[in-house]
């Protein structure tokens, strides 16, 4: 199971990084959102993977999963939403301000001037 989680994290991270490096805002935001999912699971897994023992204190069980990474990740998930919303708003605004959804704020054709190519 550990191997699967590791491989899964690796795969999702790789896809996220690839999308992050795209030239248009929307795939980039998707990549960011994907990356934050991967990061959340990664931080969570630092408390090790344990099944069936949630950190809710009761008298029957003695073993619990590590609650600390869970608490850290919980806020991170919600903040991830806030950040996605913000960056999406920026992307929408930039699209209407500059007329392009390219991350550099202009279409690549307009970007190419003779000075740049020399």
């Amino acid at each position: 199971m550990e191997l699967m989680v590791s491989l899964g994290l690796g795969a999702v991270t790789a896809c996220a990084v690839y999308l992050l490096l795209r030239a248009r805002t929307f795939p980039m935001v998707l990549g960011l959102s994907l990356l934050s999912s991967a990061a959340n699971v990664f931080i969570f897994s630092m408390g090790r993977l344990r099944s069936g023992i949630p950190p809710i204190v009761n008298s029957e069980t003695t073993g619990y999963a590590d609650p600390l990474p869970q608490a850290l990740v919980l806020t991170a998930i919600v903040i991830g939403f806030g950040m996605t919303g913000f960056i999406m708003a920026l992307a929408v605004r930039a699209r209407y301000q500059t007329g392009s959804d390219h991350v550099d704020g202009m279409e690549p054709a307009a970007n190419r001037t003779p000075a740049d190519e020399s």
Binding site: R22, T75, F81
Partner: protein, 929 residues
């Protein structure tokens, strides 16, 4: 305490006062600067009797004891002499400045900077702690930079300021290194501790490095050859600044530093050899160049360099009398040079030029100024009856008395005589060219200088004569205690007097005076110095080359890194992160742990497969954006399942709710963006990005694998044990959020709220066409709207339940907030935004603010009860019919979290939703438009 007041008074009272007083005119500003300076001077004068008895005062307050920085101050003979000079000349300069500046200059700024400098300079001379001294040292460099560049419109001023700052700042850096090394050896930064540990420090192998660095600091500050070139460039400053900083006080800081550290450095052969050689070279070189300068201030600048070299030479020598001569000449030079600068300023002010090729015959128009300048120039040349003569004679005597320094021993007497001849020559040139020669090309008819402008120079001229004629009745005691502070009590019996009988130094003086006058005559009549074109100065040129070169290099690096493509920056950043992450692997190798892995179930495989397909599918189909959004949702759901499977129900629920809201946000944004992504990446770029992505993914997988196979050493047991007794809740994750780590959560809801407000601000007033891909709101379907309306009360009920049980079972404020947002979101999808907004009459901004406020107040309640911020109280609340409800004050905190989360989600959604409305009135008074 008095010492501290003396230091701080000029800046704290003077700088603020002058800035406020400048509206009321120049005189008010001058008074505002003069009064604190005079008060400091009076306070310092009050200490004179005690210091003259040979006492010294050391006071100390701890400041940052962990790094050895203490607010330690010392008042002894040396600092007294310098302190009186700084404040005395400072006072005269304040008066002079009042009449020097033109009405359009900002006098308040100049005075404030002068006050800053005064405080910094006093700080240097009164510091007992080396780090404190260094701080003030840098402050003088900084104020000098600002003062040289005072006339910001002049390119010469800006260039001179930069040059001075680069040279003295670089020297300051070296000095820092030297002082840190010595502090490290001595284990303290207190100067008295250094002097006590003198032998241990000097025998340490690092001492010579420290010495070299300290000398570098002193030589750059005191404009010693080959670092002298910044001082002539600094003459672009207003003349009062030149008189004060660049002749009388700041440039003496290097000399002061060596005098202050003399108990530690004195007698060391390297110190002696380097300092005397550099000093002598500077003295002769400066004097030689000064003869050929046409600008009055340029002449005085090189003369200052020359005299600083003279003092440096004397300080380097290992005889008690040489140190006495050094401190004596510090005072003498300050008086006559400041006076000459003031005279130069008056001439410039009244004639409109400082060029000696154009000036001449001013004796008739301004006889008083001429008389003052003659007195000061005579002192500079070393004419008997003036103060410069006395110290120069001592200087000659010391130069004749060099024993044990090979080479220098035989050169020095000739060199100092030659230097003094040059010195006489440029002094004569100053007087003759300006006051007696024929005027050549005056810009306008000179007028008489204002009465009060001459007073400072007059005072200084009187001092020159008084000291020169009656040394033992004027400054002798002060110079004596100052010298004793440098060399200890080893001063032999001596007498400062005008007439020592006929001696070799006397002969040298006569030779210098006669020879110097002869040189001037030759220069004037045989060479015609007025036609001399100054050579290009190598020091300055080298500096300029180095400066231009580094600017060009920085520019090239910038262009290479910053080509304007964010895509490229991100790729570079990710590559850098990969490098940082890979470094520990490269260093220590990669090893897996030995923890037995959990078995894999069929369900696990299926879920894993879905995640892989989802992620890879996103890459595959990211051009078709809607598909990609849905696949992102799939990956999010897998994350939620992962949390659920591995014992994290809270996370699972939160992830689920967030995923839904996020998907809606993404779709809403997508409606306002192009629906597809064009194919535009080059193959090269795709390969590069894919390589980065694969390496990053592999790194994460390896790291995760390495950690997951190892035993865990967690601090979780503390939270598990204390959750019920300390936090009153069984759900440890929730207790962590609202109690143990409540401060984190508090910060996080603030960030969350800020993000939502950011969304609102970014989109405020934005007006776009109705997205073509969206149907009109009423077309959304009646069935959906009805179902959503039906669902609302149940959703709210679930939210309340989740909220209340959160402390003991999965749930809590975060989750409840998200569930309510979801319920309202469905209403919105069913009926459109407007009906929802009219029904839910809540300002979401207020909701966020109230949530953060409530959480903060809950924390403050803990403080009121005398406990730390955010300490919670708990107990059981009995509610009729429902029984005992375990309740902690953290519930109020959680309620704040709930409100903030709800407000954030709804504000984000409505802001995105409203961004498509065409409402012209929304555009007014909003940001971004």
């Amino acid at each position: 305490m008095t010492l501290l007041i003396i230091i701080l008074l000029p800046f704290f009272a003077g700088a603020a006062g002058t800035l406020m007083a400048q509206r009321r005119g120049f005189s008010a500003a001058a008074w505002a600067a003069a009064v604190p300076t005079a008060a400091s001077l009076a306070l310092l004068a009050g200490e004179v009797p005690e210091i003259l008895t040979g006492e010294h005062i050391i006071v100390s307050w701890p400041w940052l004891p962990s790094v050895g920085l203490n607010l330690s101050l010392r008042l002894d003979g040396l600092s007294l002499l310098f302190g009186l000079l700084i404040l005395g000349i400072g006072l005269l300069v304040i008066l002079y400045t009042r009449y020097y500046l033109s009405p359009e200059d900002r006098i308040g700024r100049l005075y404030a900077l002068l006050m800053l400098f005064t405080t910094a300079m006093l700080g240097i001379v009164f510091s007992e702690n080396a780090l404190l001294l260094l701080m003030f040292w840098e402050l003088t460099s900084l104020s000098s930079f600002l003062l040289i560049g005072f006339w910001t419109h002049s390119p010469l001023a800006r260039q001179g300021a930069r040059m001075a700052f680069a040279v003295t700042g670089g020297g300051g850096l070296a000095l820092l290194g030297g002082l840190l090394l010595i502090g490290n050896i001595a284990g303290s930064f207190e100067l008295s501790a250094w002097f006590a540990a003198r032998d241990a420090i000097r025998n340490h192998p690092q001492f010579n490095i420290a010495l070299a660095l300290i000398l570098l600091g002193a030589f750059t500050k005191s404009a010693q050859f080959p670092f002298h070139f910044w001082l002539p460039a600094a003459m672009a400053a207003p003349t009062p600044v030149s008189a004060f900083l660049h002749s009388a006080t700041m440039v003496k800081a290097g000399v002061f530093l060596l005098a202050r550290l003399y108990p530690l450095l004195g007698g060391n052969l390297v110190f002696e050899y380097v300092t005397t050689t550099v000093g002598l070279t500077t003295m002769v070189f400066g004097a030689y160049v000064a003869m050929f300068r046409h600008d009055l201030k340029g002449l005085l600048a090189y003369s200052t360099i020359s005299h600083l070299g003279l003092i440096m030479f004397l300080l380097g020598l290992d005889t008690p009398m040489s140190s006495l001569a050094a401190v004596f000449h510090v005072g003498n030079h300050a008086t006559f040079k400041a006076s000459l600068f003031m005279a130069a300023g008056i001439i410039d002010h009244e004639c409109g030029t400082r060029d000696m090729r154009r000036l001449g015959g001013l004796w008739r128009q301004m006889p008083q100024t001429a008389a003052l300048a003659i007195v000061a120039a005579s002192a500079m040349a070393g004419v008997p009856l003036f103060n410069g003569f006395l110290s120069k004679e001592m200087f000659f005597a010391e130069a004749l008395d060099l024993h044990g320094i090979p080479l220098l021993e035989s050169i020095a007497p000739a060199a100092v005589t030659l230097g003094s001849m040059f010195s006489v020559a440029y002094s004569v040139r100053f007087i003759h060219d300006v006051f007696f020669d024929q005027p050549h090309d005056l810009p306008h008819q000179p007028h008489k200088p204002p009465r009060y402008m001459k007073i400072p120079a007059e005072v200084l001229a009187v001092v020159c004569i008084a000291v020169g004629v009656l040394p033992s009745y004027t400054v002798a005691p002060l110079v004596d205690v100052a010298a004793r502070a440098v060399v200890g009590d080893s001063l032999p019996f001596y007498r400062i007097a005008l007439w020592h009988g006929f001696s070799l130094p006397m002969v040298m003086s006569i030779v210098a005076l006669a020879g110097g006058s002869g040189i001037y005559w030759l220069l004037r009549n045989r060479y015609d110095v007025h036609l001399h074109v100054p050579a290009r100065y190598t020091g300055r040129l080298l500096f300029q080359h180095a400066y231009d070169g580094s600017v060009a290099l920085a520019g090239r690096c910038m262009n290479r890194l910053q080509n304007g493509s964010l895509q490229r920056y991100l790729a570079l950043s990710i590559a850098a992160f990969i490098g940082l992450g890979a470094w520990p692997f490269i260093q220590h190798g990669f090893q897996t742990g030995r923890l037995a892995p959990m078995p894999v179930g069929p369900l696990g495989l299926v879920v894993w497969g879905i995640a892989m397909i989802g992620a890879l599918g996103m890459v595959w189909s990211h051009r078709t954006r809607v598909v990609a959004v849905i696949l992102a949702g799939v990956v999010g759901l897998v994350a939620s399942i992962t949390f659920a499977y591995f014992s994290a129900p809270d996370l699972s629920l939160t992830q689920l709710a967030v995923e839904v809201v996020t998907t809606v946000v993404l779709l809403m944004a997508l409606a306002r963006l192009p629906q597809a992504t064009p194919r535009e990446s080059t193959t090269h770029r795709i390969v590069r990005d894919a390589a980065l992505a694969v390496i990053a993914g592999a790194g994460v997988a390896l790291l995760s694998w390495a950690v997951l196979t190892r035993e865990q050493d967690s601090i979780a047991w503390y939270f598990l044990e204390n959750s019920v007794p300390g936090g009153g809740g069984h759900n440890v994750v929730n207790v962590l959020l609202v109690d143990f780590r409540g401060f984190d959560t508090f910060g996080e809801i603030i960030v969350l709220g800020m993000a939502a407000i950011g969304v609102w601000l970014v989109l405020a007033g934005m007006r776009v066409e109705w997205p073509a891909i969206l149907p009109k709101p009423e077309a959304n379907g009646i069935m959906f709207a009805a179902a959503a309306r039906l669902l609302l009360p149940f959703a709210l009920l679930v939210a309340v339940s989740m909220f209340l049980r959160g402390h003991d079972l999965p749930g809590g404020g975060f989750l409840a907030g998200l569930i309510v947002s979801l319920a309202l979101l469905m209403q919105y999808m069913g009926e459109g935004l407007h009906p929802i907004l009219t029904r839910v009459r809540i300002d979401f901004l207020v909701l966020i603010g109230a949530g953060v406020l409530l959480a903060g107040l809950t924390g403050l309640a803990g403080m009121m009860a005398g406990r730390p911020f955010l300490t919670s109280a708990n107990g059981d609340l009995h509610i009729p019919f429902l029984g005992d409800l375990p309740l902690a004050s953290a519930v109020a905190f959680d309620l704040g979290v709930f409100m903030a989360v709800l407000g954030t989600a709804l504000l984000t959604l409505t802001a995105l939703g409203q961004a498509r409305r065409k409402s012209p009135e929304a555009e007014e008074g909003r940001p971004w438009n």
